[in-house]
Symmetry: C4
């Protein structure tokens, strides 16, 4: 993908998260990656969404983090995005927001169990929460270390970031990602929606339990992987 | 009704559930039936609402489930809709959404008692929740079996689906229906609204109780059945 | 006020409650009264808001309840409105909605204490809830008796309906009113807002207490009555 | 800043708080100050937002409180604003709203602890709540004394109003401020958002705790003060 096309896609995705109601003020950023070209593209820091143009998107060298081209500063969360791209090799888009219900779960320090099929259609199980960061991780290279605690959380349980395309950073908020920039946006929308529904579920029934593994398998796998039969690109006949 | 008119009505209803705020992403589908012609019409699978045109609606043979005409795949929930039409002979429209509060009740595994007249105006008593589906029902013909557990739930208590035009599928979400496609949409809107109000009612007063049967009768029957006197088509004088 | 001007004002007020987010589907109605002419004007029954025109408003004889002029049926809640106008002589507009949070309080069967100055600016104390209606009151002249239990609730505590311009009908929802049609709409908006804030207040602090009488006096009386100094029509100098 | 420019900025800010969803009816007002010229500008009392024009903004002498120029009455909350400007010498804009969740915290009489980084990015610690006002403070110069209890609350704990740019007045609602009118609006938006998230956090986890001081320092100081590196006006290189 040419730089300009990626900048356009990332710019559009930044507008999409606003339109989806995930963003207040300038709290949010989307990035995309072109692994072949070795670059990533991200929203500039602290620019109001209604003044944002595609040209403003910042291009960086994925390996060194150096800004290529014009002089706008990239989002202050860039080191988190870059570390995630480096460690999660199958993702090509990342979305960070402070969407209201996902932040509430992150502030509560609680992971979101899979309580229903809306969740299961997009996240193959519990959405994890990171451990709190330690003083030295916060003092030095804070945004980079935010990436580190996310990746640590996935590695320690052997979770596949393509199957669980999002996380809650404790005391902070959600990061979501996907195999394309558009799918990252979709997963960020789902994460907020699932967070709201799960909160209400527990208010209605504090003893609510996750759905059975077989139902989780059914929903996730009918939309993802070789046996998928949802949408218009399917390869199997429908009953 | 000609196929084209039914496709138009079903297309419009699919847009109506979006406008009513019941839908995120592509989570929702509406169908309609022409019992005389032996066909049903439903939204195609996984198509974005803003690109949907009436022509995209998929026509199926109600008895065999075979797609008639063009090649778009019907919603993956089609077997559920078809089974409901076959078993509930008086309904002509069905709406499935993942509307937020109704899903929360479904995830909580709780039925919604009739706590007030808003509910009583449209649902003649408790809105039921299905039992969880068993592994074999999920593995094989999952969407068909979703219909089976819904119908089972109504049959076991002798509930009339015209008087209770909706249900919560446990761990999943709401299905609503009606004697026309438009009424199915209206009942889906009411179900979400009633779900939100009932949640808040219990937050305010965990001991809240259903309204008396006489008030339930009054409200449901002043809008439905031979003695109705609400709206402009009434046959009785108003006091 | 000429009939046409009152019909226009009532029609506008019916649109205003939709714009204010108090209405779903056709659940709501506004009326106004011209006491000198002995008439009241109310929304027709069950007509969709987006098709409503001023001409559709129904004019009735305030004393007999007879419809004057064209043939649309008045709202089924007309007998409630008419009884309130007859008993509460200082009100000239009434609004009935099923606004979400006010309904939740009505379903919970709980009155809304005055927890803050937003409430105190418009309602001079607790917003009462009626007793549940009895079977015979529901069977016969239900809508009329809805008015009866409202008035009974105000009379038994000697509450002035101008100082407390609204009520919750148990298991049903809110009625609000005012000395003009516009003020009735404003009070309906405030009632919903106050209901939402009060619910959240108790979720945050189950031991929250009403504000002191002196603060209630200050806020209500700086906007209402002879010493008012809020807005542009005041008669006193501001400090 | 010329009077006209300040009137324009204050008028725009009054519209901005409506657009941000912080205002119902006329419940809200924004003011700005020109300390060199010794004047403050504030919204007139009780004027509907959709009829407001820049020219309507009221100019007052900051020291005496006398209205300069045309005859519209200033907001009834003017004495609160004026006292805050006199006591908090580094602020140049003030916003008062009855935004729903902030009011709920004020009615609950609870301060809002810093539960996450959204809060920490804008408020350097707990958002305080005032003590209830006493009868004599309410009877005489109520709005002035509202300012007094706010300032008292900051002084008693040695809180810097630039670092904590907002407060909850017990039983009433939020005041927010900033070093510019625009920043005051931004802080009012953040205060409402943080209030909603904090409420949901406690509903999810009643034992949720504030974030560590080191994380609070990191977030507040990366956006404020000499070491800031957020946005496009930074003076340091980004890692």
């Amino acid at each position: 993908m040419a730089h300009d096309a990626l900048k356009e896609a990332v710019w559009q995705a930044n507008l999409d998260i606003v339109a989806a109601g995930l963003v207040e003020l300038t709290w949010g950023n989307v990035s995309g990656v072109d692994r072949e070209a070795g670059i990533m593209v991200i929203k500039p820091s602290g620019v109001a969404y209604d003044r944002l143009i595609a040209e403003d998107m910042v291009v960086l060298d994925l390996e060194t983090g150096a800004v290529l081209g014009h002089g706008l500063r990239p989002s202050s969360d860039t080191p988190t995005h870059r570390y995630l791209y480096q460690q999660f090799e199958d993702i090509e888009g990342i979305v960070h927001t402070h969407s209201s219900h996902a932040v509430s779960w992150a502030q509560a320090g609680c992971e979101i169990p899979c309580l229903g099929t809306t969740h299961a259609d997009h996240f193959y199980g519990t959405i994890p929460v990171t451990r709190p960061m330690q003083a030295e991780e916060i003092h030095e290279a804070y945004e980079y270390n935010t990436g580190v605690v996310i990746v640590e959380r996935f590695r320690e349980d052997g979770v596949d970031p393509v199957q669980i395309p999002g996380v809650l950073v404790a005391g902070h908020g959600p990061f979501a990602w996907g195999t394309t920039v558009q799918k990252a946006v979709e997963n960020a929308i789902v994460l907020e929606s699932v967070a709201r529904m799960a909160m209400h579920t527990y208010l209605l029934n504090p003893s609510a339990t996750p759905i059975d593994q077989v139902l989780l398998d059914k929903h996730f796998l009918r939309k993802h992987g070789p046996g998928a039969y949802y949408g218009q690109q399917a390869t199997k006949e429908q009953t």
